[in-house]
C-alpha cells in the first residue's frame, strides 16, 4: 500500500493525503466537534466565517463546523460501503456470466441493461417511498443503482481475460467454472475494478446529495454534507459558509478520490507497458 503511494505521481500523493484526512474526520469527527451537531447555539442564522463559530451557523442557528464534522461520516461511509457493494456484486455476477453459457450471459446482460435504463434518482424515489429512508435503505438503493455499471465494466474485462490462453489451459485441465472465475480471471481484473470502485464512490456521493435535494437523503437531525448544502441553500444568497463549506468539502472529497484513482490507473498502465 505504502509502496503504491510512493510510486504515485504528485497529484496522486496530494489526493491520497486529502482522502486520508477526510477518512480521519469521518472516523473521529463527532468527537472533535465543539458543539453537539443538533444543538441550536445562536439566535443568528447564517453567521459568517470566524466570529464565535469557526464556520458560522446554519439556517436555524446550529454550529456549522460541528455539523460538518458530524456529517462527514455519512458522506464517506455510505458511499464507501455502497460502492464496495456495487463493485463486488457487479464483479461477481460479471465473472459468473463470463464463464457461463452464452445464453445465461445474454439474459443477465439484458437484465442489467434494464436496471441501467431506470434513472437512478427516480429508482431511489420509488424505493424510498416504499421502504422509507434509512441508512441501510440508502445503502441498498445506491448500491443497486450503480451495480449494473460495475457489472458492464467487469464483464468486458472478464470476457477479455477469459479468452486468454492461461484460462484455456485451465479449461483443458478440466477445471470447474468456479475455479476459472475466482482463481484465474478475478485476480487479473481486480486492479481496474479498483479504479472503477473509486468512480462509483464519487457517483454515490453525488447521488446522495441529489437525493437530499429531493428530501430523500440521510435522516435529520443527522445530515450528510449534501443535506447540509441543501438545508442551508437559502443562505447561498448571502454567501453563508453554511452552504459553501460543505459544498467545498464534497468537492475536495470527490476530487481527492479521483486523483488517487487516476494515479493508480497510470501506475497500472505503466506496469502493463513494462511487462
Amino acid at each position: 500500500m505504502m509502496a503504491a503511494i510512493k510510486s504515485m505521481p504528485m497529484s496522486g500523493k496530494v489526493g491520497a493525503v486529502l482522502a486520508a484526512c477526510w477518512l480521519f474526520l469521518a472516523l473521529f469527527g463527532p468527537w472533535l466537534a465543539p458543539h453537539s451537531a443538533n444543538e441550536i447555539v445562536a439566535y443568528d442564522v447564517f453567521e459568517p466565517l470566524g466570529g464565535d463559530y469557526i464556520l458560522g451557523t446554519d439556517y436555524i442557528g446550529r454550529d456549522v463546523f460541528s455539523r460538518i464534522l458530524d456529517g462527514t461520516r455519512f458522506t464517506i461511509f455510505i458511499p464507501l460501503l455502497a460502492a464496495a457493494l456495487a463493485c463486488s456484486v457487479g464483479t461477481l455476477i460479471a465473472l459468473y456470466s463470463a464463464v457461463s453459457h452464452p445464453r445465461t450471459d445474454e439474459i443477465i446482460s439484458r437484465f442489467m441493461d434494464a436496471l441501467i435504463s431506470i434513472p437512478s434518482k427516480i429508482f431511489s424515489l420509488v424505493m424510498i417511498a416504499a421502504f422509507g429512508s434509512s441508512v441501510p435503505i440508502l445503502l441498498t438503493i445506491t448500491a443497486i443503482s450503480y451495480m449494473p455499471g460495475s457489472f458492464r465494466i467487469a464483464r468486458s474485462l472478464a470476457v477479455n481475460v477469459a479468452n486468454l490462453d492461461f484460462v484455456t489451459v485451465a479449461r483443458t485441465r478440466g477445471e470447474s467454472r468456479l475455479y476459472l472465475a475466482v482463481k484465474e480471471i478475478l485476480p487479473n481484473i481486480l486492479h481496474p475494478m479498483l479504479a472503477d470502485f473509486g468512480l462509483r464512490f464519487v457517483f454515490v456521493v453525488l447521488l446522495l446529495s441529489s437525493l437530499s435535494f429531493l428530501g430523500l437523503g440521510v435522516q435529520p437531525p443527522e445530515a450528510d454534507l449534501g443535506s447540509l448544502v441543501r438545508e442551508n441553500l437559502s443562505g447561498l444568497a448571502e454567501g453563508a459558509p453554511a452552504v459553501i463549506v460543505p459544498a467545498i468539502a464534497i468537492a475536495t472529497i470527490t476530487i481527492a478520490v479521483n486523483l488517487v484513482i487516476d494515479s493508480l490507473r497510470g501506475a497500472a498502465t505503466y506496469a502493463a507497458r513494462g511487462r
Binding site: D165, F166, T168, R171, T172, R173, G174, P187, N188, R275
Partner: protein
C-alpha cells in the same frame, strides 16, 4: 568521401528519471550512401531504439541523453520536434515491424501512402498517387492501380508490409529504416517481401538500416552487420565476414542457432497413444449437411505413438492450431473419431474425464498469455499437481522443484510472479506445467516462434531431451519446416485444412515434395547471401479465391506446377511415394521429382 550516416557515442535511457536504465550504451557506427546496414540482436538488445534515433525519435519513456546521429548534415539527436517533423518521412523513412498495426485501420491505404508526400508538400495528390502506383508495381503488388483504394484489413499481411515500404519510399528518402519487417510473416510471403525490398532499395540507391533478429534474413539484405547485445555493439563487420568468421562468441551463437542440424533420430516406438481419424471441424453452427458453417479441417487422420514426435506444418490459415484445439477438446470435431490409450475420447472437453484431460496437455505459443501474470510460478506448477495427483504441501513443493530442475530453471524461481520472467523462462515454465500433469501427449503449438533464435534453439533441445527421458508423445505444431524436419519422427503438412503431405521425418529430408511443401522448404532463408536472388517468386493473387469447401486441390491457385484444368476439375488423389509418405497431388512421383 564522408559517410552518409554517422552515429557517435549514442546513449539512450529509459524508465523514470529517478532510476533510469541505459538501453543504448555508447553506440557508434557509420554507413556509406547506398549501403544496407543490419542491426541484429535479441529482443531488448536496443536495436529498434537505435534505429528510431535515426529519425530523432525516442519511444515514450525513452530519452536520447548523449551522442550525435548525423544523417547527411542533420544531427537528428538535437533537433526540435518541429524541425524533425520536416525531416521524417521526407529524408528518413520508417518501415514498421507489424504493418497490420502500423496502418491506420480506418483510412484507405492510398491516403496513408501519399500522406507524407502531401504533408511535406513535395507533390500534388495526383502526382503522389501516380508515383504510389508505380511503386506498388515495383514492389510487385497485385493490381497496383486499385489496391490503394482498399482498407488495410482488406489485403494480406505480406502485401501490407510491401505497401508500407511504398509508403516509406514515396518521398525518395535518403535513408529507410526497416524494423523487423518480415518477422510477422509466413516464410513463403517473407521471401517475396524481402525480394521486393531489396530491389526497391538497390534501384533508388537508398541507404537502409535493417533491424532483425534473424541472421539468415539479414544475410540476404545487408552489406554490413552490426551485432548488438544489451545495448552495446559486440561486432560490426561486413556481412560475409560475420557469416564466415565471426569474432564474438555471441555472434557465433546466433550462427549456430540458424544452422539446422539435420539429425533425424529413429527411436523404437511401441503402442499407439493417440489415434485420430477423419476429423472434420470448423466454427459456427452445424449445418444440415453435418458440417460447420465455416469448415476448417476436413478428413485429417493421424496416429501418434508413445515417445514419438509428430510435426504439423502449415502457414497461417492452414488450420494447424485448430487441429490442436480439436485434440484438446476445445473445439469439438463435427465428424471423425479420437482414441486415447485405446479408449474412445469424447470430442468435447465437457464430456472428458479428469484422466483424459490429464493425458492430453497443451503448450501454447505465447507464454506471456499462457501464464497467469497474477500467479506465482509455484502456484502455476502446483495447481495441476493438486488437481490431477492430489499433491499438497511438502510433496507438492518437492515436485515443483523437480519440475523446475527438469526444465533447467533455478528452484528459486518458484515464488516469483511470472510477469517478472524472461520469454525463455516463461516458455520453460509453460512446458513444465504441461509435464506436471504427467500426460501421454503434449500438444506444442508454435512454442518457439515467439522467441529469439538462440532461445528457441535451447527450448527445442530441451524438448528432445525431455521426450527421450519421459518417453511422452509430442504433437509439434509449427510454421517452420526446418525445425520440424529436424525434430520430428513423423511430419504432416496442412494446407487450408487439408492434409497435403504426410510421412516420416526422414522422408522430408529431400525431394520429392508436394508442390506446397516444396515451396515451404525452399522458402526458408539460408545463410548464403545469394540465396534470395536465386529464389523464384511465388504467385500472389490479391484474393486467393479457393474456398475451404470443395475437394479440389486447394493449393491450385498458387501452385507453380499446376496441371492445366485437371487441378481445377478433379479432386487430387492421395498417392504414396517410395519414401513411404503420402502426397495429395495429381502429379505422380516422377513428375514431382522433375519439378
Amino acid at each position: 568521401m564522408t559517410a552518409h550516416i554517422i552515429v557517435e557515442h549514442l546513449y539512450v535511457e529509459a524508465g523514470p528519471t529517478e532510476q533510469p536504465v541505459t538501453i543504448v550504451d555508447d553506440v557508434s557506427f557509420s554507413l556509406q550512401r547506398g549501403e544496407v546496414l543490419a542491426l541484429i540482436g535479441e529482443s531488448g538488445s536496443g536495436k529498434t531504439t537505435i534505429a528510431l534515433t535515426l529519425l530523432g525519435y525516442a519511444r515514450p519513456g525513452c530519452r536520447i541523453i548523449g551522442g550525435s546521429v548525423m544523417v547527411g548534415k542533420d544531427n537528428m539527436a538535437d533537433k526540435a520536434e518541429s524541425q524533425l517533423a520536416g525531416l521524417r518521412g521526407r529524408k528518413v523513412a520508417y518501415v514498421a515491424q507489424s504493418a497490420a498495426a502500423a496502418f491506420n485501420p480506418s483510412r484507405r491505404i492510398m491516403d496513408q501512402v501519399v500522406e507524407s508526400a502531401l504533408m511535406h508538400g513535395l507533390m500534388t495528390r495526383k502526382e503522389a498517387e501516380a508515383k504510389a502506383v508505380t511503386l506498388f508495381a515495383n514492389l510487385s503488388l497485385p493490381s497496383p492501380e486499385t489496391i490503394g483504394r482498399r482498407y488495410p484489413h482488406e489485403v494480406s499481411g505480406g502485401q501490407l508490409q510491401r505497401l508500407m515500404a511504398a509508403m516509406a519510399l514515396i518521398c525518395d528518402p535518403e535513408l529507410v529504416i526497416f524494423d523487423e519487417p518480415t518477422t510477422a510473416l509466413d516464410v513463403t510471403t517473407q521471401v517475396d517481401v524481402l525480394k521486393a525490398f531489396k530491389v526497391a532499395v538497390k534501384a533508388t540507391n537508398t541507404t537502409a538500416v535493417y533491424v532483425s533478429h534473424d541472421l539468415a534474413v539479414v544475410a540476404q539484405m545487408a552489406d554490413r552487420i552490426l551485432v548488438l547485445q544489451r545495448g552495446r555493439v559486440v561486432e560490426n563487420n561486413p556481412t560475409d565476414r560475420i557469416l564466415n568468421d565471426a569474432e564474438h562468441p555471441y555472434t557465433q551463437q546466433l550462427l549456430n542457432a540458424v544452422q539446422n542440424n539435420d539429425t533425424v533420430q529413429n527411436k523404437e516406438h511401441s503402442d499407439v497413444v493417440l489415434d485420430i481419424g477423419d476429423i472434420e471441424a470448423g466454427y459456427g453452427k452445424i449445418t444440415k449437411a453435418g458440417k460447420p458453417e465455416i469448415p476448417i479441417l476436413s478428413g485429417i487422420s493421424l496416429k501418434v505413438l508413445r515417445g514419438q514426435t509428430v510435426g504439423i506444418i502449415g502457414e497461417s490459415g492452414s488450420g494447424k492450431s485448430t487441429f490442436a484445439r480439436v485434440i484438446a477438446g476445445l473445439l469439438p470435431a463435427s465428424a471423425g473419431y479420437m482414441v486415447l490409450n485405446n479408449q474412445e475420447l469424447p470430442s468435447a472437453i465437457a464430456d472428458r474425464g479428469k484422466r483424459e484431460c490429464q493425458h492430453i496437455q497443451m503448450v501454447f505459443q505465447n507464454a506471456d498469455t499462457a501464464l497467469n501474470p497474477s500467479h506465482k510460478v509455484a502456484d502455476i506448477l502446483g495447481r495441476p499437481l493438486t488437481f490431477f495427483h492430489g499433491l499438497k504441501g511438502e510433496a507438492q513443493k518437492e515436485r515443483v522443484a523437480e519440475l523446475l530442475e527438469l526444465v533447467k530453471l533455478p528452484v528459486a524461481l518458484a515464488d516469483r510472479k511470472c510477469g517478472a520472467l524472461s520469454g525463455g523462462q516463461k516458455q520453460r515454465i509453460n512446458l513444465a506445467r504441461a509435464l506436471a500433469a504427467e500426460p501421454s501427449v503434449i500438444l506444442c503449438d508454435e512454442v518457439t516462434s515467439a522467441l529469439d533464435t538462440v532461445v528457441a534453439a535451447a527450448i527445442l533441445d530441451l524438448l528432445e531431451e525431455l521426450q527421450a527421458r519421459l518417453n511422452i508423445a509430442i504433437v509439434f505444431i509449427s510454421h517452420d519446416i526446418s525445425t520440424v524436419k529436424s525434430l520430428c519422427d513423423e511430419v504432416l503438412v496442412l494446407y487450408k485444412g487439408k492434409k497435403v503431405e504426410h510421412g516420416s521425418g526422414s522422408s522430408f529430408a529431400c525431394a520429392p515434395y508436394h508442390p506446397y511443401t516444396d515451396l515451404l522448404v525452399s522458402s526458408v532463408p539460408t545463410l548464403d547471401p545469394e540465396w534470395l536472388d536465386s529464389r523464384k517468386r511465388d504467385l500472389d493473387a490479391l484474393d486467393i479465391s479457393v474456398q475451404n469447401t470443395d475437394d479440389l486441390c486447394r493449393f491450385r491457385d498458387r501452385c507453380p506446377v499446376k496441371l492445366g484444368d485437371q487441378c481445377n476439375t478433379e479432386a487430387p488423389p492421395l498417392r504414396t511415394l517410395t519414401s513411404g509418405k503420402s502426397v495429395l497431388c495429381h502429379r505422380d512421383q516422377a513428375m514431382l521429382v522433375a519439378q
